[in-house]
Every structure is written in C-alpha cells, then in structure tokens.
Symmetry: C2
C-alpha cells in the first residue's frame, strides 16, 4: 500500500496546468471544442470545470475540514456553475486562469505547513461521509489525472473515423472510465 | 463523420512531447517508476515506447507505404526493443529524445508536402491488412493520446489507496481501456 505523501501530491498538482497548456493552447478547434456526443464535455469544458474546482472544491473543502471537522459537511459542487463563469472566455484565458488559481492555491496550502496529525483530521463529504484531509488532498491530485485521462479520450474520439482499423487496438478508444457525479 | 486533416494531426503530434515533459520531468519516482502491477508499464516505459515508435513505427511505415504500396507489409513492431534502447537512460533523457525525434519526424513529414491523393495511397499492415496513409497518420496522433490516457491511469493507480472513497467516483479508476497488441 502506498502511503499518501503531501509533497508527492503537490509535485503533481503543480505540473498539471503546464501540461494541459502545452497540449491545448493553440490546438485547432476540431480537438478542443468538440465533445463525445450528447451533453458530454469538450476539452474546453473540462478546463472550465477544473477552474471551478480550484475556486469552489478542494481548497474551500480543506478550510471547512480544518475549521469545522465533521460537524459541517462540505458544500456540494455545482457542476453547472462553470457555464456562467466561463461565458465568452477563450480557451487560452481559461488555461491562464487555471495556472493562476492553482499556483495561488498551492502557495496557500504550503503556507499552512500541515503536519501528519493535520492530515489525519476528518471532515464530512456530502455524498460519502467521513473522510480524512489526507484523502481529500490525494483525491485533488487524482482528480487532475482523471480529467487528463478524459481529455485524451475526448480528443481521440474526434478521430474515431479517420483511424480506421486502428480503433480496435488503441486502448483510449475502448475506455469506459467515465466519472460518476459526486 | 470527421474528415482527416493532416494539419490537425500535425498540430497534435507537435504538442505531445512538451505536454508529457511538463507533466513528468522532475516528478517523484513514486509516480514515474511504478506500474499497474505484474508486467504492466511504468510512465518511464511508456516514454521509451513512444521513442521506439518514433524510430521504428510511424515514419518508417509511411516510407514503406509510399515506396512499395501494398506489395510490402510494414515491419511488425518489436515491443521489447525499448528495453535495450533505454537501458540506463534517465526519464529526463528519454523526454529529451522524444522531443528531438518527434521534431525531426514532423520536419521530414512536412517536407514531403503530401497531397490529398498521397493520403489515399494504401499500404499493408502486418495485422489488419490494407490501410490508407491517411489512417496511418491519424492513428499516429491517436496513439499519442492513447499513451497519455495510459500514463494518467498509471499515475492515478499509485494513489488507489490514499484517495479512499473518491476511488469509486473518479473515472480514471474505472478505466479498462488498455491497448491490445498490434
């Protein structure tokens, strides 16, 4: 079993904005503005969601946990808030915001000098109950990875026809790892 | 149906090395040097595989297709060749090589000024038979995406215990989109 190490989580969280920026900035709209059909998200939508989570999810929940423990549940996340927040913004603007919000959040997080005892403190998730701060911060990092995973799948979906027979052999075309609402 | 546009493919292919570099360079070994169990690959192994494909897969197959059409099948890919090629190299060295190999390959590809008629030319894949150059080049781009998808899943796997109840809700933890051998 892997122990959670806060420095490992911060190392990953610090790299995600630049990685997504290098992939998506200036990429043709074919890739970034199309979804997987129906009401699924585009890569643009995913960056908007990541920004909303920087504002409303991980750090606010960390503060609630540290200030109120299990006595006050975290606020449920509004998955549609980003539609208002991002109206009229370019993808490039969203990528800039992601880098800025993430850097500010990690500066704040580091400034608290959380101890191992702090990481064992508990809060209350509105859907799955008692969680530790360690789990919350580890999940922040994996949430990034889950959306990088989703973005690579959304982009690949746009080429499902052009790749012909390769579609049966490339793992990303068989992915069913879609996130549940929580 | 999305038509294949070579400039769109090149736009993506040109960005992958920098995106993976931003994610993986300097990231702790916990993330980059662990796999998903058994004989699965680490993120380090995936970059080695991408480099081997730059040397032995996409561009050599393009040349065989343009020179020989369907009369000469592509060489099968040796998925273990990278073990020899990469022995003793650091991840940072592999990331440098990926950027260099990709840039050289895209320069070569652009220099050919391929026409729509060229893209309809056919070659012979050793596993699935007749394919067009258009399909081959589109698959090169989606192959990148498939391995970015895999890397995000490999990294997430390392935190399957620390994230506790979030594991049931994050899509990357439910992914079964593993590539077949081809």
């Amino acid at each position: 079993m892997t122990e959670h190490n806060l420095e490992d989580s911060i190392a990953l969280l610090a790299r995600t904005p630049a990685s997504l920026d290098a992939l998506l900035r200036g990429l043709p709209d074919l890739w970034t503005r199309r979804n997987e059909g129906g009401d699924t998200w585009t890569a643009y939508d995913v960056i908007g969601h990541l920004n909303h989570c920087e504002r409303a999810d991980w750090m606010p929940r960390t503060r609630i946990l540290l200030d109120h423990g299990e006595s006050r549940p975290f606020e449920p996340l509004d998955r549609l808030a980003q539609i208002q927040e991002n109206r009229g913004k370019t993808l490039e603007r969203l990528l800039d915001e992601f880098a800025e919000l993430r850097a500010a959040n990690l500066n704040q997080l580091r400034s608290w000098n959380l101890t191992p005892a702090d990481l064992e403190k508990r809060g209350r998730h509105p859907a799955f109950g008692s969680v530790t701060l360690s789990q919350l911060l580890a999940a922040w990092a994996v949430h990034d990875l889950s959306h990088m995973h989703q973005i690579s799948r959304i982009l690949a979906y746009q080429y499902r026809e052009p790749i012909g027979p390769w579609g049966r052999f490339l793992g990303v075309m068989q992915c069913n790892g879609h996130s549940a609402q929580a």
